[in-house]
Each structure stands twice: as C-alpha cells, then as structure tokens.
C-alpha cells in the first residue's frame, strides 16, 4: 500500500505543472554583462549557463549578451581585448568552467572582469550537489549579482505558495515550495480543504500556515525537511494569520476566542499567550518590523480596513494609525530595511499593491491590475511577489523596486498566497 502510494506520488509530481517565467518589462538603466560560453561538458555547461542568464534577466537589472552577440570570444584572461567589449557598452565579463571530477563531485569556477577597470574583480568556486545543477547555477547567479550590484542576490532563495486544482468538482489544495524562479516545485502539504497565509520561519527551515482540514481555520507549524508538524494551539476557536518574530521565538496570531478577530503573541517555547489588541472591530494580519520592535496590523476600527502599528518596547502602547490614503489598506509588511511598508491598497474599484516610505507622505502604487493581493518582499528588499487575478484565475506576478515586472503563471489551476523565504546561501 505504502509503496503504491509512493509511486503514485512520484507520478503526480512529474506531471505537476510548473510555473512559467515571462518577463514583461525591464529596468530603464540595466547593467550590461557578457556571459562567455562555459567550458566543461556541453549539456551540463549549457544548462547551468541558461539558468544563470534567466536569473540575471529576471532581476530586470541586467542586459545579458551571449557569445554570438560579441566581437570576440576569449577563453582566458590574457585573451581578453577589453576594447571589443567597450564598443558594445558592456560593463562586465563572466567566464566560467564546470568541472566534473566524477559522478558525485562537480564544481563551478567563475571569474568576473570589469571592462572599465580592465581587470579581474572576482574569482569564485561553488561546489555542487549531485543532480542539483539548477541550485549550483543559482549560487553562481547570486555571486555575480552581488559582485556587480553590491546587493545580495535572491536566485538561491525559495518561494512558498498555495495551489488549487479542481478535478471532478473536487478541490485539491497544495502548499508548495519552489526555487525563486518558480521551478523545482516540491509539495509540503496536500489537502482537500483550503490552505491560506503561509509564512516562513526566519531561518527558512519551518513554515507556518492556516489549514481548514479540521473544519475551521487552524494554524500549523511544519518542519520542511522532516515533515513533522503541529497545531500551534489546540482549542475550539478559529485561529489564523501567523507571523514569525524576527528572532523566531514568537508567533503573532489572530485568535477568535471572543467571537472577534484579535491579535495575540504566542511564545513558541512555553505557549504563553499575550493579548495585543482589544477592540470590537476586526484586528488581523499582524506582521513584525525587521528589528522586532513593532507589530503592524489591519484594523477596521476607523470604519474601513487601515494599517496600524503597536510599539512593543513601550508598556501599554496604543495602536497608531499609519495609512490615511483611501478606504482600504490591508495586509501590510515591512521592507527588510524597515524604511517603509508594502500593502494592499484600494484605488477606485481596484485592489493594488502599494509602497509607502515612512519619510514620504504619499502612497506609491506598484501594480495596476484589478485584484492584486498577498504581497511578499524578497529578503534583499528588491523584488515583490504577489497574486493577481486574470479571467477569474489567480497567478503570481512580480515587480522589482527598479521597475521590472515579471509573472510566474501556472499552466493548470490557480496559484496564490506567495511568501518569500529568507536568504538560504
């Protein structure tokens, strides 16, 4: 029985649909990078090179040129004629070789040259895992990205999201983890009941989410590697909207024990609950500031959903309203540098993702479709992934703060509730 299930499971995984990447708009002032053909066995080098080119393009910050678009194809440092690259307005040259010592040992060695400085600025080695070429490539992409932009790359990070597929009028929900490019999908949880609000622990080893599998919304924590999971609080009430504190010791939650949504902080070690809000209107969607000193949440106390902050460092601190623009501002999260927030903002009849910096008194709309929701920001603060609805089907879309846009649509079914992991590298 178990073996049959296992085979069925493998089959289901191989036919499971993949997210497709499609870049809709890039940055206005990209870095130009020449990627020379990687040396090493043909198919392995080509695969890795293709993944890296895709990773760099997806950031929207790069113009990538390959060997057939160049004036010369040097294979070593002393063969580089920098003027050939300068003529094409190329800023950087990447050279790499993939070395397969044996079936289980493979590593990549890459070098980055600055055309302006006419010298090598980086040499790196990445040791891979057997059969995980894409992961190796993502590490290389992040090294290249970091060297050129000065910011940590997110190609080696992961996305968590929920899919819903309907077979014979029966819904099947899956909680899925995939690489940041939407590939390498793996299922964390499969259920016949809805799953919402997935979120990563700060170390990216566990996830918390809301599952309706018992008939009412309950919060679970699941270890990614072992599959072990627990319901965080066992009582008769609905529990929802989990958010991890930056130090991983607390989980903020929405509890419905007096019939109304109120925010509490759960100490994960001793299970002590501390009540944070107390108001007859809805209080939910809590999220922690990067240094853990504040919690932001959505409250209906003004008559429409708006975002509020509570200072956790001050005893008995009162919630302070922080959004005033429009009659629907919800599901806020802080930028990793703490300088602003992203949230769902209603403009006219549309729900969009918006950004507000604390030192500005206006809202910056980031998206422009009708029903945008669930924004999640990359750990380097550069990219926002969110769910959109198109012809009644939800899919994932992304926007970088530099203005590049991309989408990660699913071929079958719906995909929603994206959540970006922390750095894994």
């Amino acid at each position: 029985m178990k073996k049959q299930l296992f085979i069925l499971l493998l089959m289901m995984q191989s036919i499971s649909s993949e997210l497709m990447l499609e870049i809709t708009k890039g940055s206005d002032d990209p870095y130009s990078v020449a990627i020379l053909n990687f040396s090493g066995s043909e198919d392995v080098s080509r695969t890795i090179q293709g993944v890296i080119i895709n990773d760099l393009k997806r950031t929207g910050e790069f113009r990538v040129l390959e060997e057939n678009q160049l004036l010369s194809s040097p294979s070593a440092e002393d063969e580089i004629n920098y003027d050939d690259f300068k003529l094409l307005n190329i800023d950087y040259i990447v050279m790499a070789s993939i070395i397969e010592e044996d079936a289980n040992n493979l590593y990549a060695s890459y070098k980055i040259f600055s055309v302006k400085k006419k010298l090598q600025i980086r040499t790196s080695k990445v040791f891979g895992i057997p059969n995980k070429l894409r992961q190796l490539a993502h590490y290389m992409s992040d090294g290249i990205y970091e060297e050129i932009t000065g910011i940590k790359g997110v190609a080696s990070t992961r996305l968590l999201y929920v899919t819903e597929e309907i077979f014979n009028e029966e819904s099947s929900f899956k909680l899925i983890v995939a690489d940041a490019d939407g590939l390498n999908e793996q299922i964390l949880l499969r259920s016949t009941e809805p799953i919402i609000s997935p979120s990563w622990s700060p170390d990216s080893k566990k996830v918390a989410y809301v599952s309706f599998e018992t008939g009412v919304a309950k919060v679970f924590i699941q270890d990614i590697a072992s599959g072990e999971r627990e319901m965080v609080l066992e009582n008769n009430f609905q529990i929802s909207s989990p958010s991890w504190s930056p130090n991983g010791k607390f989980l903020s939650l929405t509890l419905y024990q007096d019939g109304n949504a109120e925010i509490y902080i759960l100490n994960l070690k001793n299970k002590n609950l501390t009540r944070l809000t107390n108001h007859y209107s809805i209080d939910t969607e809590s999220s922690w500031s990067p240094n853990g000193s504040k919690i932001m949440f959505t409250s209906g106390r003004s008559g429409s959903p708006q975002l509020y902050e509570i200072n956790l460092r001050k005893f008995n601190s009162k919630p302070t309203r922080i959004t005033f623009d429009g009659n629907y501002n919800a599901k806020g999260s802080y930028l990793p540098n703490g300088e602003g927030i992203i949230f769902v903002h209603r403009k006219d009849r549309s729900f969009q993702i918006a950004l507000k910096y604390f030192n500005e008194n206006f809202v910056r709309p980031l998206t422009n479709s009708k029903l945008d929701e669930s924004p999640s920001i990359s750990p380097n603060g550069n990219v926002i992934v969110y769910a959109i609805s198109e012809d009644g089907v939800s899919l994932l879309s992304g926007v970088t703060l530099s203005g590049a846009r991309f989408r990660l649509p699913l071929k079958n079914g719906e995909v929603r509730e994206p959540s970006w992991s922390g750095f894994l590298r």
Binding site: L10, R122, V126, F127, I129, S240, K331, L371, R425
Partner: protein
C-alpha cells in the same frame, strides 16, 4: 465530529556541509561555497467526516442562507425573515444544533475576509441568542473568501458569495 489522519510520504534527506569563505586579496573577491539542500518531505492532510450526524432533523435548514453588503455584517430585513423561521424551528425541536458559516467575496485580503466572514456568522448567532436560543446550540466559523458559490468577478457573483450559511 472530524478526525484528522496524517500520512507522511516521501523523504528526501540531504546532509551537506555548508562552507562559505570570503577573503580578499588586492581588491579582488575570492569566494568558495558549497550548495546547501535541506530536503523536503510531503505531508497529506485528509479529513474524515463522521456520518453519524443526524442530517434528517437538520434538513430543514439546508438552504438557510443570508446575504450581506460589501465590508458589512449587519442583517437586513430579508435576512431577518429567513432567520425568523429558523428560530421557530429550533424552538420546536430542542435537539437541533446549528453551525453558522460566514463567507466573503473575493475582493480585499484573505485574512481580513476571514475575519469579516466570522463577523457575519457572529451577527447571525447574535440573532438566535437574542431570540432565546441557547448559545450551546449555535457554533460559528468562517471560510472567508475560500469557498465561493459563484465564480465570476462581478457584482452579481460577489453578492452571492457574501453570505452566512446555517446548517
């Protein structure tokens, strides 16, 4: 009641060392690192509904549904009419217990809609309590926007989805 069965399947265990070295020599970055992979295990969440529930005595309520305005949870006159007959049926048969499930349309955030669905269910529950039904006979829950009955992205569908179902 509901039982939860959890099956654990498939196990990818990866044990890999993680080394990350950065050193710099004459303004050039030199790094060495090893790809890390922690492995992933899939979990199956399945529910089994207990079939001993007495659906026959509750059939009377099967289609008792009340509707709400956008971002609102107050009962309108039509809803009160629907609830009135449900209250008298509950008074006639003391053994009937009900569950009220609140729902929202797809607009707005999922968690806020979950809370809104709860408020709608609570508003219906309050009506039963005000009319002398014991709170021990009424339980509430919310599905937010997760279980629509109409799938279009238009006001007609939205209006059908902003509801509380009594079972």
């Amino acid at each position: 009641m509901i039982n939860t069965n959890i099956f654990k399947e498939k196990n990818f265990i990866g044990l890999f060392l993680f080394i990350f070295v950065i050193s710099s020599c004459s303004s050039m970055n030199v790094t060495e690192e090893v790809v890390y992979d922690g492995g992933i295990r899939t979990v199956e969440a399945s529910i089994k509904e207990d079939s001993t529930l007495d659906y026959e005595t509750k059939a009377i309520f099967t289609n008792a549904t009340v509707y709400f305005d956008f971002d609102k949870f107050n009962l309108n006159s039509k809803s009160l009419q629907t609830l009135k007959s449900a209250v008298s049926a509950m008074k006639d048969n003391e053994s009937i217990k009900i569950t009220i499930a609140g729902h929202a349309d797809e607009r707005g955030t999922r968690e806020y809609n979950l809370a809104l669905g709860q408020r709608r269910a609570e508003a219906v529950k309050d009506y039963f309590l005000l009319n002398g039904i014991s709170s021990s006979r009424v339980s509430v829950k919310s599905y937010g926007e997760e279980q629509p009955v109409a799938y279009g992205s238009n006001e007609e569908s939205y209006a059908k989805n902003r509801r509380a179902e009594i079972n």
